[in-house]
């Protein structure tokens, strides 16, 4: 991870949309959290989703993980509509995610947390687990291998047997990342990965996210408040404000967009 990756090697040739969101609308009572939002995320890219607080970024993520059902619109992953699937069927498709406020399993060890991440790749059940059938044991060994590789990759090996509860915030963020990667996702959703990290950790995270895209062939969609971070690593940025898409394009384009500037600086709010 010490190498730096030049920007932007957006996997040449891979132009198909891995994720496509069309007309996504979510209403909570009278409040419109998302208003006909459409965008695509191309395979092999890093896409940033920005917007002030309450712009609907996390709502959009929760639609992608099927924790919310939108009132209107469609979401297709690799050409396949996903809005009819229950939440637990999303990970097996190849969509992994992390959470804004950490959603780890506090009383499990770091290693066990990451092993749960591989749940969707494995299939041993009550009977095969209770009897430790040979194939279930091989599967367990493979799961452990996946977890160990990721712990090593993210510098968590020394903490593998420590319960997640009580570890520093920045470390837990890495545990969540490892857990999300353990499901071998094609699309990784990162909800404010830089939130609560210090300067050095943010730089390191940027390298890690690029490395994940380039070495592991993972497309990344991230929600982030940390502007430098988003603008530095994203190939494409989508800006939301009050549930509506106000801009989309390269980081430079979006940064120059007057609507985006207005949304962030609050001038001429009307």
């Amino acid at each position: 991870m010490s190498e730096t990756y030049s920007f932007p090697p957006a996997a040449a040739g891979a132009v198909d949309a891995l994720l496509s969101v069309r007309g996504l609308t979510v209403r909570f009572g009278g409040i419109v959290a998302l208003d006909a939002v459409s965008f695509d995320v191309k395979q092999g890219t890093i896409a940033g989703l920005i917007g002030p607080n309450g712009a609907g970024k996390t709502t959009l993520f929760n639609c992608l993980s099927r924790l919310y059902t939108p009132n209107a619109g469609t979401i297709a992953f690799a050409g396949r509509p996903i809005l009819r699937l229950p939440p637990h069927r999303i990970a097996p498709l190849g969509i992994g995610r992390t959470f804004q406020n950490l959603a780890l399993f506090p009383r499990m060890t770091v290693q066990q947390n990451v092993m749960v991440g591989a749940h969707s790749l494995t299939r041993s059940d009550y009977v095969s687990n209770a009897l430790r059938l040979p194939w279930a044991r091989r599967e367990e060994a493979r799961t452990l291998e996946i977890a160990e590789e990721l712990l090593e990759y993210l510098g968590l090996t020394a903490l593998r047997h420590v319960p997640a509860e009580g570890l520093p915030f920045g470390t837990l963020k890495r545990v969540e990342l490892a857990r999300a990667l353990a499901g071998r996702p094609r699309l990784l959703l990162l909800d404010e990965p830089a939130g609560g990290l210090n300067h050095e950790e943010v730089d390191e995270l940027g390298e890690t996210v690029r490395a994940i895209r380039d070495q592991r062939n993972v497309t990344v969609l991230l929600v982030e408040h940390h502007m430098n971070f988003v603008m530095n690593i994203s190939n494409q940025v989508v800006a939301l404000d009050f549930g509506r898409k106000i801009a989309e394009g390269t980081p430079a384009e979006v940064q120059a967009n007057p609507e985006v500037i207005r949304a962030y600086l609050g001038t001429d709010a009307a």
């Binding site: 991870m1 010490s2 993980s65 924790l67 229950p86 939440p87 637990h88 069927r89 999303i90 990970a91 097996p92 995610r97 959470f99 959603a103 780890l104 399993f105 506090p106 009383r107 499990m108 066990q112 092993m115 749960v116 991440g117 749940h119 969707s120 494995t122 041993s124 059940d125 009550y126 687990n129 209770a130 009897l131 430790r132 279930a136 599967e139 367990e140 060994a141 799961t143 452990l144 291998e145 160990e148 510098g155 968590l156 090996t157 020394a158 903490l159 420590v162 009580g166 570890l167 520093p168 920045g170 470390t171 857990r179 499901g183 050095e200 950790e201 390191e204």
Partner: protein, 344 residues
């Protein structure tokens, strides 16, 4: 668990043995004591220890559900009753050999538990506790209602089976060893289950069910199946209980039995396997000890015991022991930077 630790890490030792070796040694010692016990103590004590093991099996079932999966049940007495009556009816009405009735009682409870677990999916925490409480309240009355099968208030008397194959054991000793064998098998299966993919999914649901679903865990399926497996364990315990006590009657399965199970699993240690055995011994012997202390107010003494235990050992007996042992071992560990982050 092969490849658990790389060759470079140094395993802490106390008294020249690693934690795993101590655990194996402790397990062997417990097994030797358990096998020798019936030859040392009288028949009544043998009967009591058999009952304690039966409770341990029931508690392990409850512990899987409550401790590992985070679903509360104040109604496991009902599954115990279903197991007991399945055996009693098969023995008394149909004359089926008792050996067959035990797995059947388990399977009946597996199905009933799974079916009860389905609607219970909509309930969480205290609401689930209340729903299962209702189950426990209803069980004795339902048993009285189906008098033709259950013998109503009179209950069903069962004859104690003799030791097979001409083993030189009396009935109590035979039932003790039969229960011990079943306990060992059930505990080994539970340990494997809880350490594997399924056990991790169960705990993940308990700790953060939304994150668990996002990782692909079908939480509804796991919760109802865990309810079923939990009921299976408790049902097998009920079946053995009927055979050992030689009698089933609706009033032996009152709400107090369910509450006792919950007490046993909490005092023993939620989310621990060995806690079930400690809890079984506790709920069988400690009320009697309370009676020895004060004949007038054994309930008050028992209450004080409970409060003291919870105060001194908030993780239950097994949980607290585990903590002490781990502290002891990590004190001897070659300085692993546990709390610190290795920033790369």
């Amino acid at each position: 668990m092969e490849a658990q630790l790389p060759a470079t890490s140094i395993i802490p030792r106390v008294g020249g043995l690693t934690l795993a070796q101590w655990q194996r040694l402790g397990l062997a010692a417990v097994l030797i004591v358990a096998v020798a016990l019936p030859f040392v103590v009288g028949n009544y004590r043998v009967f009591q220890f058999t009952l304690a093991m039966i409770y341990a099996i029931a508690l392990l079932g409850l512990n899987m559900l409550t401790g590992f999966n985070g679903q509360f049940s104040l109604g496991h007495g009902a599954f115990y009753a279903i197991g007991a009556y399945t055996t009693a009816i098969m023995l008394d009405r149909w004359g089926i050999a008792y050996g067959w009735t035990i797995p059947v009682a388990g399977l009946v409870c597996l199905v009933v538990g799974f079916l009860f677990g389905l609607p219970a999916l909509r309930l969480e925490g205290l609401y689930l506790a209340l729903a299962t409480f209702a189950l426990a309240l209803a069980a004795p009355q339902i048993l009285k209602y189906f008098e033709g099968w259950t013998g109503g208030v009179q209950g069903i008397v069962i004859i104690k089976p003799a030791a097979p194959f001409g083993l030189p054991l009396n009935e109590d000793e035979w039932l003790y060893f039969l229960t011990l064998a079943i306990l060992i098998v059930l505990f080994a299966l539970a340990r494997n289950l809880l350490r594997g993919r399924v056990g991790r999914a169960m705990v993940a649901i308990r700790d953060h069910h939304i994150a668990a679903e996002t990782m692909g865990v079908n939480s509804a399926l796991y919760k109802s199946l865990t309810f079923g497996v939990s009921a299976l364990y408790t049902g097998i315990a009920g079946s053995l209980g009927a055979i050992v006590v030689q009698f089933v009657a609706p009033d032996s399965f009152s709400i107090f039995l369910s509450i006792n199970f919950l007490v046993g699993s909490v005092v023993g240690g939620l989310a621990t396997i060995s806690g079930a055995i400690i809890g079984g011994i506790f709920i069988l012997f400690v009320p009697n000890m309370a009676e020895l202390v004060s004949k007038a107010a054994p309930g008050a003494i028992y209450g004080i015991f409970l409060i003291v235990f919870m105060y001194v050992m908030p993780g239950g007996i097994a949980g607290s022991l585990k903590m002490v042992i781990h502290r002891w071992f990590s004190g001897n560990a070659p300085a692993v930077n546990a709390g610190k982050v290795a920033t790369k």
